[in-house]
Symmetry: C2
Subunit: 159 residues, 2 copies
Amino acid sequence: MIDVDVIGIRVKVPHNQPIVVLKEHDGNRYLPIWIGIVEASAIGLAMQGVDSPRPMTHDLFVQTLATLNGVITGVDIVDLQEGTFFAELFLVSPDGQTHVIDARPSDAIALAVRLDIPVRVSETVMDDASTTIEERDEEEQIEEFKAFLDQVNPEDFQD
Amino acid sequence: MIDVDVIGIRVKVPHNQPIVVLKEHDGNRYLPIWIGIVEASAIGLAMQGVDSPRPMTHDLFVQTLATLNGVITGVDIVDLQEGTFFAELFLVSPDGQTHVIDARPSDAIALAVRLDIPVRVSETVMDDASTTIEERDEEEQIEEFKAFLDQVNPEDFQD
């Protein structure tokens, strides 16, 4: 498995669909994963340290985990089939057992950025789907995410 | 607290914004709560027994709960402030303690329909925000939800 950093949310033209970008920690390969608008917000807002006035779904998830003394120790992006990525969570229960739970990468990453836990990508997935794009500075990434938020329908986030 | 049934997802014109409708179990009052598109799908698809090919966020939540032997015994809609509803989950940990956790009603209801647990609404919220609308038959509700899904952007659900 390859250690990666969650770089940020980008928006792809022409359909303005968000992607979350992972970057090889000890290398220069980037893995873009297409995600939904709500999932992109769940990741991007947490990365920017934006506090939601009410608990969003992944915040509730994290609080429930803490209440039950469950610990997610890391998430892996393990497979890519017909354009769909598959991820796994490593959940340690209070008795010390580790449970592997299937997840969508967007949920796995939304939890990882809140819990500050490692994200890894399998060699095969990285070989198949990574690109080598120029790194962009942080300011530009934030501008992109703000622009993304501007074009989002606020109704998507109501309640 | 008043016991309610989750009746279904409706779509309000002109903005096609979804609402989830709760109905007083022993009465004729309905409580409509505006929610987001993704949350509406999380509730509506589970109510229709639609299996997602991959675990959606609330499915992952439910599986994590089960892995940690946590049990949500019910959800309450407890408050309404400036048009925003507030809910609570009752989470019982393996040691038998009950923890009350703040949640958005959409998350609470999305979990409730998966776990088949009671939903209740406070008397005050019901008095303030309920309406008495005619009951519609099940077929009509499903048609409405299908129409809602037709107008949803599939990109909202990718990944």
